[in-house]
């Protein structure tokens, strides 16, 4: 699909930029990512969607240096993740999908401090930062809890606190809620929302309702960057959604079918209001 949206040409003050990045897993015939280019400006909130196996997780791992691109350039806060992974990881934190496999320590507090320990932060400074991070995710009182006694949502919040403690400018969220139940998802999203204004965020997800507040949405399919659109244009494009195996959640889908704008209507309350409003205006004319 030609005509990507604005902001895809790297250069200028970008927090994250990818230029013609390609990557193939060893032994695989198809490339996981093919000539992908886009840029993330400081403070932007960008969503990444697409079918599984389309390259989203690969992208995340390229951005923080876990993988090295076969070709192309990546810059995160003006550094190359492949050659300076440690520096990049100080500034870019990743929240992974599986809440269990990201928790290292036997107690919540210690796990939140893990990143700070790795960065060599002095002990007296750690106490304050750990406490603040725990507060930022609403887990005061959980400091000495053991990970296996926590719910999925709580575990993800601990993982989030662990990342926030190192105060990165950029947050990459790799399907952070896909293994959680409805309650857990709501919890985690609430705290993620609160972070938006201060950080630059790249949010990989299947749940389109999580991206209604995004500045842009990128679509990765089969390793190609298919689209780079605003949520409004994106969520109203039924073909685009179908081709990329994306499904609108119930409320926006009802809205779309009723001819109402799907992006502004994500909760039942909003939809009900819009329906009544139209009915009123209809009877008036």
């Amino acid at each position: 699909m030609e005509n990507p949206g604005e902001g895809t040409r790297p250069g200028g003050s970008f927090a994250v930029s990818c230029e013609n990045v390609s990557f193939s897993y060893p032994g695989s015939e198809r490339p996981a990512l093919s000539e992908v280019s886009f840029g993330l400006r400081p403070g932007e909130y960008v969503g990444v969607v697409g079918p599984n196996g389309g390259g989203k997780s690969t992208l995340v791992r390229l951005l923080n240096g876990l993988l090295r691109p076969d070709s192309g350039h990546i810059r995160v806060s003006d550094r190359d993740p492949a050659t300076e992974p440690f520096e990049v990881r100080k500034r870019l934190g990743v929240l992974f999908q599986n809440p269990d496999n990201g928790l290292v320590a036997p107690f919540v507090e210690d796990d939140v401090a893990f990143g700070l320990e790795n960065l060599g932060v002095a002990r007296h400074e750690m106490q304050g930062r750990v406490a603040r991070a725990i507060r930022a995710v609403g887990l005061e009182g959980y400091e000495r809890r053991e990970p296996d006694t926590l719910s999925g949502g709580e575990k993800q919040r601990v993982a989030l606190a662990g990342i926030l403690a190192t105060e990165p400018e950029i947050l990459v969220l790799d399907e952070p809620t896909s293994m959680l139940d409805t309650a857990g998802r709501r919890e985690v999203l609430r705290y993620l929302k609160a972070l938006r204004p201060e950080k630059t965020v790249l949010h990989v997800t299947h749940h389109l309702e999580e991206l209604t507040g995004a500045d842009r949405i990128l679509v990765l399919n089969g390793g190609d960057l298919i689209a780079d659109e605003t949520p409004e244009r994106f969520l109203s494009d039924a073909d685009l959604l179908r081709e990329n195996r994306l499904v609108l959640p119930v409320v926006p889908r009802l809205a779309l079918e009723l001819g109402l704008p799907p992006t502004r209507l994500s909760t039942p309350e909003e939809l009900a209001e819009a329906i009544l409003a139209r009915a009123e205006s209809g009877t008036r004319t």
């Binding site: 876990l66 992974p85 990743v94 290292v104 210690d110 060599g120 990970p147 296996d148």
Partner: protein, 262 residues
């Protein structure tokens, strides 16, 4: 299932719990060595009395502590039995066919039994009063001088920490997989030992594969958070060696000396 159900750490506030883990580890090691230097039952009884006092101070309920000793009771009983039946020396107490019970045998049996109980109790007290996190910190610290001879003290401690963190998780996973295979008709209680071992394949294989996958994801998460081994790392938990710790060590040595002399 929590790590607490492993039967070890009992979280309660007590002067013993508050001691530096390094002091406790060293004291336990010294204690174990010292036990083998004591050659009289009276000496052992004296040390046992001191240990009982220590357990009382640690605020661990007697029933919980005794539960720790349950696995060894069989060995203890066997030891006593063997000594009683086969050791000669001292006055003959009972004669029964080819077996003769001598007072010497009885005394030796009691002595050995007491030693085994004290060994297990000291190890049990260590793990009951020291949180796993503190234990691994203590071990890492004690091993760190070995870093000079390239011994990976930090890495060993990190491995222990991760193991402790994942034991309950893997335990739950094993239960879940067993349930899933049972739902498909697997029976783990049928047949002789060979058959039973084979019936565990549908549990062990996925558990192992799953464990490897976890390890992969965990490694990625750790690296993503800036982990690069022990270099340049600081520590969140503080270990402070204080007067109480020095006192605890000295008392341990003294008690042992008295036991040896008795």
């Amino acid at each position: 299932m929590t790590s607490r159900s492993l039967g070890q750490f009992y979280p309660v506030a007590s002067p013993v719990h508050a001691l530096d883990p390094r002091a406790k580890i060293v004291a336990t090691a010294v204690f174990v060595v010292g036990l083998f230097l004591i050659d009289s039952t009276v000496g052992l009884l004296f040390v046992a009395a001191s240990l009982v006092a220590l357990v009382a101070m640690s605020r661990i309920p007697a029933t919980t502590f005794l539960r720790l000793l349950r696995p060894v009771l069989l060995i203890v009983a066997l030891t006593v039995l063997i000594q009683v039946l086969f050791s000669r020396g001292g006055a003959t107490l009972v004669e029964w066919g080819i077996f003769e019970v001598h007072s010497g045998g009885l005394r030796l049996g009691i002595f050995l039994a007491l030693r085994i109980l004290l060994l297990v109790s000291s190890a049990g007290l260590l793990t009951a009063t020291t949180a796993p996190v503190a234990l691994t910190d203590g071990i890492e610290d004690l091993l760190s001088p070995l870093k000079r001879v390239r011994f990976p003290a930090h890495e060993v401690a990190m491995m222990m920490t991760i193991a402790l963190r994942f034991i309950p998780t893997l335990g739950e996973e094993a239960e879940k997989i067993k349930g899933a295979q049972a739902a498909r008709g697997a029976d783990f209680s049928e047949g002789g030992p060979l058959r039973r071992a084979r019936s565990l394949v549908p549990v062990l294989v996925p558990l192992t594969v799953g464990a490897f996958r976890r390890a992969d994801e965990l490694a990625e998460a750790m690296e993503s958070r800036g982990y690069r081994g022990g270099e340049g790392r600081t520590r969140f938990r503080e270990l402070r060696f204080r007067k109480q710790d020095a006192l605890a060590l000295s008392i341990t040595v003294l008690v042992l000396l008295v036991g040896i002399l008795l």
